[in-house]
């Protein structure tokens, strides 16, 4: 057991003074402050206590007018030193505070509402899908200029030219996006610009060596203001914004199918700028690292239009919000939470397939595979304590409800023999996360599916693409029921 610094100091003070006791104490005898004629002095005394306590010696050796204040002064300084030690970690960095993040998210929410007024087809969920797809394709094709050219209509100006002229020698695969959120939005007279903050991890193979990297970047997309967003089929796949054929453009930017010149940003979103903020190698140690919960006590980040949208949602579904909320908590949030965390704890991530979007499932599958590769398991025995509504978004194609789930319970990692590696089997951990549920507009199903919502077959045959292998229907894009599409930690959620 490692002693804390202040305990070490107190122990050292005690030992120093105790040393005097051990040195001078004599069983059955003692000494008195009798002075002496020389430096060594002589001592005799009638002290009969066998212990020779420190305080006694101190008071005998020095007059009380000195010894008492001396002890008090020493103790006072020890106290001050301990207080000062608390400031060891003091550091102020000029980064966003939680208040600023909240203000910024409110600003973005208002601008998003303005964008929807200009573009009735705008769907945040579909835009996330598009960004997700483009990000993955870009990195997959990064060392293949021909493939990059095929999707050049989605990149503005000279963004790709430097990469195409001087292709990179490394290869990137196993791209997993952990989190993606709007960090800035600008609407001016001519253009709309949306900046996404993306956290991803990927394997980079170079010089016959593969390393896993965690990357944080900002991607800024631009589009003409007067353009309406394409329909879902053109947002969920990279397609020619003109004819809808799979993206396949010539060197000069013409669609190979319809021969239309697609100027980036004229008909569809195009990447205008990219900035890598952080890049670090992921080690296995990070899998087993537990850090203190940072955001549990932060206030819930609520969308400024939450109450207005609660009313709109309730009216759309011919209900009142408080009744609907009770049903949503008990029949959607809690059952989904339990199913997904059970699948996680049991390393049977396929059991969560029917309840999660493709993105979320793939992102977490990476971690499950890492646990399996390390013969470890993260066990979560947790219960939902409270649920706060944070955001409701309704557009032409999707409706989404973001909730903040507060949970408490045991969270620990064990090896294949059940031996504890990290966390605690005894002490509960309290935390919260923001979960976003989505479903297609018009869908009314409000229960967790126990069978395939399309054909009624058991949910034991949902493949990795979210398709029921019994009936061939994709059930994980919200067409039939709610699915979870995003899980964000409380300290990272910004609206």
């Amino acid at each position: 057991m490692q002693l804390r610094k202040k305990h070490k100091q107190l122990l050292l003070t005690f030992l120093l003074l105790l040393l005097a006791t051990v040195f001078f104490a004599r069983p059955g005898g003692g000494h008195s402050y009798s002075g002496g004629t020389g430096h060594t002095g002589g001592y005799s005394g009638n002290y009969s206590s066998p212990d020779g306590t420190i305080i006694y010696l101190l008071f005998r050796a020095l007059p009380p007018e000195i010894s008492i204040p001396l002890v008090l002064i020493i103790l006072f300084f020890v106290f001050l030193k301990n207080q000062k030690a608390k400031d060891d970690d003091f550091m102020v960095v000029s980064s966003s505070t939680s208040a600023h993040i909240r203000n910024k998210s409110q600003e973005i929410a208002k601008l998003t509402a303005r964008l929807k007024a200009i573009d009735p087809n705008f769907s945040y969920i579909l835009l996330l899908d598009f960004v997700w797809l483009l990000y993955t394709r870009f990195y997959t094709y990064i060392n293949d200029p021909k493939k990059l050219l095929e999707i050049q209509a989605f990149f503005k100006s000279d963004f790709l030219s430097s990469i195409i002229k001087m292709p990179v020698s490394y290869k990137i695969n196993q791209i997993v996006i952990g989190n993606i959120a709007i960090s800035a939005l600008k609407i001016d007279e001519e253009n709309v610009k949306v900046t996404f903050s993306i956290k991803a991890n990927m394997t980079i193979e170079a010089e016959k060596k593969a390393e896993r990297y965690l990357i944080t970047e900002k991607w800024t997309f631009e589009r003409k203001r007067n353009v309406h967003s394409p329909e879902p089929s053109k947002m969920k796949a990279l397609r020619c914004p003109s004819c809808g054929a799979p993206a396949y453009f010539t060197d000069s930017g013409y669609c190979n199918y319809c021969d239309t010149y697609i100027a980036p940003g004229e008909m569809h979103w195009a990447l205008a700028a990219r900035a890598v903020e952080k890049m670090q190698i992921i080690s296995t140690n990070q899998l087993f690292a537990y850090s203190a919960e940072a955001g549990t006590t932060l206030p819930t980040v609520k969308d400024p239009f939450l109450h207005k949208r609660m009313a709109i949602f309730a009216k759309t579904h011919n209900t009142n919000w408080s009744d609907y909320w009770k049903k949503f908590e008990s029949q959607i949030v809690i059952p989904y939470f339990e199913k997904i965390y059970d699948a996680w704890s049991n390393l049977k991530w396929e059991d969560a397939r029917a309840y999660t979007s493709d993105r979320l499932w793939e992102a977490n599958k990476f971690w499950i595979d890492l646990y399996k590769a390390n013969n470890a398991r993260n066990i979560l025995q947790i219960k939902v304590v409270r649920i706060d509504a944070a955001k409701i978004d309704i557009d032409r194609y999707y409706e989404s409800i973001t909730v903040r789930i507060f949970a408490s319970g045991l969270d620990y990692i064990v090896d294949k023999n059940g031996k504890l590696i990290a966390g605690s089997k005894k002490h509960s951990r309290e935390y919260s996360e923001y979960w976003t549920f989505i479903r297609r507009t018009g869908v009314e199903e409000d229960k967790i599916p126990v069978n395939c919502p399309a054909c009624g077959a058991p949910l034991d045959n949902i493949n990795s693409h979210g398709i029921c292998d019994y009936c061939g229907n994709k059930i994980t894009d919200g067409n039939f029921s709610w699915i979870v599409t995003l899980i964000v930690q409380d300290e990272e959620y910004s609206g």
Binding site: F24, G41, L57, M91, S94, S95
Partner: protein, 210 residues
Amino acid sequence: MLYLKQFDNTFRQQLYKTIAEIEQKADIETVVIIKNESCKYKDIPLKAASLTTFAIVSILVFVPWPVNPYVIYFTTVAAFILTYLAVDVLDFIKRRLIKPERMQRMAEIYARALFQKSNMHLTQRHTGLLIFVSLFEHKVMLIGDKAIYNKVPEHVLEIIRNDLQQIFTEEETALSLLEKLKEVSGILGKYLPAVQNKENEIPDNLDVNL
């Protein structure tokens, strides 16, 4: 340190706003880091305690009148402990016992380490600027990337450094820092004018840990 309380949440919010204003007026990616100290200087209290102890022992052993050995022992131990604690805890004493050049050097080393560790040198236009404030040493360090040194004359940077250094003469150090930073934005904007549609390359939630 009592004045650490000045750097509370309100200050942090205002600091963030001030940085945002700087970046609107000048093409620089600024990060301000405030740390209580750049080095522990553990040798200083040890040296002071050793010297004091030696002095006490010398006095007590060679005084012409007899002194109880217990007095010598306890006074020596107490002198060592008291001096060590006093020098370690009381910053104004410790600061006077450390050479100014040493404090300057330690603050600079720490600032450069922070600059590297936070990847501030990786911005596209090399316009990263770290303003590092080390409270114990009473030092403000400016560490900039290539573009800062190429475009801003050294004497101007010196003026900015000296100006920022003045915050330690003010009682409201935190407030003074914010005011000085606003002045700095005006000066730097002349040499590195703001660029339209500039992307922030340094993350909002910069996480630096040496």
